[in-house]
Symmetry: C2
Subunit: 311 residues, 2 copies
């Protein structure tokens, strides 16, 4: 991927996405001891950055592919994004969701007219179901984090962040399947001014941390984390990018995630999901290393189940 | 009050307040059947529009008055605003708060170095305590909603809203003590293009509705509403302005308030307090009368107790 691929993608998807605001909080800056700029993708269409990658991938399909629809598997945000993106572009979306997916995310998919197929909450079941639908219906399979067009699309949030704050020393992203951090790392490489990229990851699903240590993609035996978007593992397309361009993964406890989420809700008055709070938790845990720096944080989404909050 | 008073006030307080964003939601527009523009004072310093009026009132004090401090009584947002405004300007703030005030608001006051005096949760006890402190310490009493400098200050949120959306057909404000709606009504009168102003009020504390009917300030016998900022009654300075410039008060049920609050949280991903949701609830209840119009809503604040949510 070259710089021009990111620029072309950004131009391509702009009519279909929001340019989300970059917010900051004096009180959080004081607590971190650095200047923190939050790129608020919780305000993105569909409530998450995933709309960027999904839209880019669908826009790249041929007319014939568009007629046959798209299929994906996702616990939630990518499901909503593909449904909304597909609806906007007149394409049918088939969505495989684990039975464990938050109800609010299923409601979102239905509102955007995605067709839901429920499956067991394992990655294997999700992939198998999605592959089967792709085969039977002829729909194009969109991978939520390992499709190269999706990765490039996710990188466009960081393009906008760097347009507003060109001198960021680092960008923090949550790490689930790896699409957002891989895309952001490409963006930081091509558009940043020596801007490093760090991942935040729950101890309870620290596959990316272990993958970078071992040099190969590691799985999670269990994923007992509140950060429901971060349970998936890295992919063959995003892992090489992460290995090359990400400076480190910082792991955080469940308590740190809830505490950071609460801090963002109370101080910034914005609703972010637990997966999004992992980044601030990581920065707070390692704040001594980022003292007085300018830090960008990609707030990945705001789709929480209000009936089931950790407060 | 003349147009110039509002302009002078806006200029005076600008260095000390945030210019808050105006947000909108396609899904909420579709639900209302109108274009709705939310002026997000939940993002204001101190978490509420009250910072505007408090700052204006403190800035108008003489140096001698500033040395002797200020005193006010408030269930929360004005308390935080006076504490923060006073701290910013090097003035001591004495704050009378009812024992029933949400803990999150007391914490806010303490963080901003306001000195808290707890009292019984009645308007009489609040006023008596504040008057006594004014007398004993020599501090200047700032009324949360009936001080003319406070009223003008609160009107500046609507100035910014009309700068961004000059052709609003109406502005909706919550009605508690009447400071915000009186200030907004003056602003709509001087700066709007035939822009009407409506109040939203809980049935459970509908003193403003009844006051406009009877032509004199009515009290509330009980105030069993979740909208804790709207339990106070109108004042002698703001009531004449409201009578002259407000087109109507729309009352809403507690269920409508919680439902509108949930709609804002889920759709806009922003945290608003129940008092702020009263306006959208009022607009939804009466939406047939505002079909296809451009409506501004002043989101008054975002200081909620996350441990005590109605969801």
């Amino acid at each position: 991927m070259q710089k021009q691929d990111l620029l072309d993608c950004h131009k391509r998807i702009q009519p279909f996405i929001h340019r989300t605001p970059v917010l900051s909080s004096r009180l959080i800056n004081a607590e971190v001891g650095a200047e923190v700029f939050f790129k608020c993708e919780n305000f993105q269409r569909g409530g998450a950055y995933k709309m960027r990658g999904a839209t880019n991938a669908i826009l790249q399909l041929t007319d014939e592919q568009k007629r046959q629809g798209v299929v994906t598997h996702s616990s939630g945000n990518f499901a909503q994004a593909v449904s909304l993106g597909a609806k906007t572009l007149g394409v049918t979306a088939h969505i495989v969701m684990p039975t464990s997916a938050p109800e609010v995310k299923k409601i979102g998919v239905r509102e955007y007219e995605g067709i839901i197929y429920e499956c067991e909450p394992t990655l294997e079941a999700r992939e198998q179901n999605a592959n089967q639908i792709a085969k039977e219906i002829g729909a194009t399979l969109l991978h939520p984090s390992n499709d190269i067009e999706v990765i490039i699309g996710q990188g466009t949030a960081a393009i906008e962040l760097l347009e507003e704050q060109p001198d960021l020393n680092a960008i923090f992203c949550p790490v689930g399947g790896g699409g957002l951090i891989a895309g952001s790392a490409l963006t930081a490489h091509y558009f940043g001014n020596n801007c490093k990229v760090y991942g935040g990851e729950p101890f309870e699903a620290d596959d990316a941390y272990r993958s970078l240590l071992s040099g190969r993609i590691e799985g999670n035996e269990t994923t007992n984390t509140i950060a429901d978007g971060l349970k998936t593992t890295l992919g063959s397309n995003n892992f090489p990018i992460i290995k090359e361009h990400v400076s480190g993964i910082i792991r955080v406890t469940e308590e740190e995630i809830v505490s950071a989420m609460r801090l963002i809700w109370e101080r910034m008055k914005i609703i972010v999901e637990p997966s999004s709070a992992v980044t601030l938790a990581a920065l707070l845990r390692d704040k001594a290393n980022f003292s007085d720096q300018k830090i960008g944080i990609v707030i990945s989404g705001g789709n929480v189940d209000l009936a089931n909050l950790p407060f």
